[in-house]
């Protein structure tokens, strides 16, 4: 028994080494960062040592400030993204399946998709103010395009043979959408979500920097204004962690839903 326990520990250790090797350039950079900061080679205001940032990060987390701001940012981003996902999939799938819907939405998508959405933040502030609603609408508008475009494209590419197969086996035109079109287009639809997710964080973050009202973007800009550079970097670490975490979740969901691909 001891032998097997040892063996498995040995395995874990070698895994750890493997992981270390895969990120060693990152580790070197982080160590360099700490050394440069400690030696005062770069002014503290520009780049505090890594340890100071991590301490500030821990402080903000323990005081609840970080979690509350992260919650505000996440909530705005995810509600906006959810609205965009529902509307984007409906518009995308329907315009791929129906000429009249496409006739209406195609020009709108052509014009809307390439607009650098961040540039519209002031307009949203004029129209909807600087509160949560304004931010959520902004996220929904901004992330609608990649969701709709990917849903439309993947629906268009559903093989005719699959639709014919379902029709010959008795699927009515109305049920076709659920039985064949949606499952067949699902990979592309999920790709749309994966593109929209980081965008939802970017939009929320920038809007918070510009308009305040709490959230990680506001926390970061507030750090700049009060000469608290450690807080600036702590906020960046938080948004990075959220971004990575959400990406992992989406990948996991994708793997689960698309195990047949």
């Amino acid at each position: 028994m001891d032998v097997t326990a040892d063996a498995s520990r040995g395995l874990d250790l070698s895994r750890l080494v493997e992981f270390g090797k895969s990120v060693y350039s990152l580790v070197i950079l982080l160590v360099l960062w700490e050394v440069v900061g400690q030696l005062g080679l770069i002014h503290y205001y520009f780049l505090p040592p890594l340890s100071d940032i991590l301490i500030r990060f821990a402080e903000l987390t323990l005081s609840g400030e970080m979690l509350f701001n992260a919650y505000l940012t996440l909530q705005r981003a995810l509600i906006g993204l959810a609205i965009a996902s529902v509307l984007g999939v409906i518009v995308g799938v329907l315009s791929a399946r129906n000429d009249i819907v496409d006739w209406f939405f195609d020009p709108i998508i052509k014009i809307g998709y390439p607009v650098p959405i961040i540039s519209l933040i002031p307009v949203f502030m004029l129209w909807f103010g600087i509160g949560d609603i304004s931010k959520i609408i902004m996220v929904a508008v901004g992330t609608f395009w990649p969701v709709a475009v990917n849903a439309r494209e993947s629906t268009r590419q559903v093989e005719t043979n699959l639709i014919w197969s379902a029709q010959m086996m008795g699927t009515s035109d109305r049920r076709l959408l659920w039985r064949v079109v949606m499952p067949a287009a699902l990979p592309g639809i999920l790709t749309g979500f994966q593109i929209a997710m980081p965008l939802s964080l970017i939009i929320t973050f920038v809007f918070e920097m510009v308009a305040g009202g709490g959230g990680l973007g506001a926390l970061e800009i507030q750090g700049v204004r009060s000469f608290e550079s450690a807080q600036v970097y702590a906020a960046i670490i938080a948004i990075m962690l959220i971004g990575i975490g959400l990406d992992r979740i989406l990948r996991f969901v994708r793997g689960r839903l698309l195990h047949w691909t």
């Binding site: 043979n161 699959l162 014919w164 197969s165 379902a166 029709q167 086996m169 499952p183 047949w260």
Partner: protein, 260 residues
Amino acid sequence: MDGRVTISGLEKVYGQGAERTKAIEDLNFEVDGGEFVSVVGPSGCGKSTLLYLIAGFLDATEGTISVDGDPINGPGTDRGVVFQDYALFPWRTVYENVTYGLEEDGVPKDERQNIAQKYIDMVDLDGFEDKYPKELSGGMKQRVGIARTLAYEPKILLMDEPFGALDQPLRESLQDQLLDIWSDLGKTALFITHDVEEAVYLSERVLIMTRHPGTKKTVAEIDLDRSGSREEIVTSDDFAHFKNDVWKSLHEETQTEVTL
């Protein structure tokens, strides 16, 4: 017997203006209920078009197609297609692909199970029920395609070069399986192929089509004694004779194409 297909004055034009293509021109033909008919013709002569018109996937430009006297109106479960590229639902397992038509028909679950198992066994796929199409070879996918179509029990089987992508030994074994199934279940079969030997081996009649735009050139009656083994059949003089007939007729069409 049920499952008679009557094609009269059939014409199919694709596209409009400069892109207008007449794929089928004035085609008249009848397949009897329970009969096995193959269709051969130069590539691009409209074989697939004809099959999809009968399936109801495409609308005829002129003329009518009737099943047992009733003009068809779109796809229906009285006809089942086996596609060359299988067209299985990749998100469904073998079992779920085979039960799809039964689900649509509202067949209860345990009954679905029995029927599906019968056809999965028939095409020698027991043990593969829970596999997804991506895990199967081409020959296995095509057997799923056949089982799926048989399972909802259409009277008429429409097959578009179903074995075209498979290698010779596999083709031959699937041909024999198909013949067994056909004679057991008593279905009407319309089988498209570019392989003359396959057409003669399988069918009671072979419809030879002209080159583009396609119509009926001739119909060859294949009056073969099929009581023996495959080897006895394909090495018989009769078989060679019918094969020559069909080949010559087909060759005339491809020749004209080349000299033009």
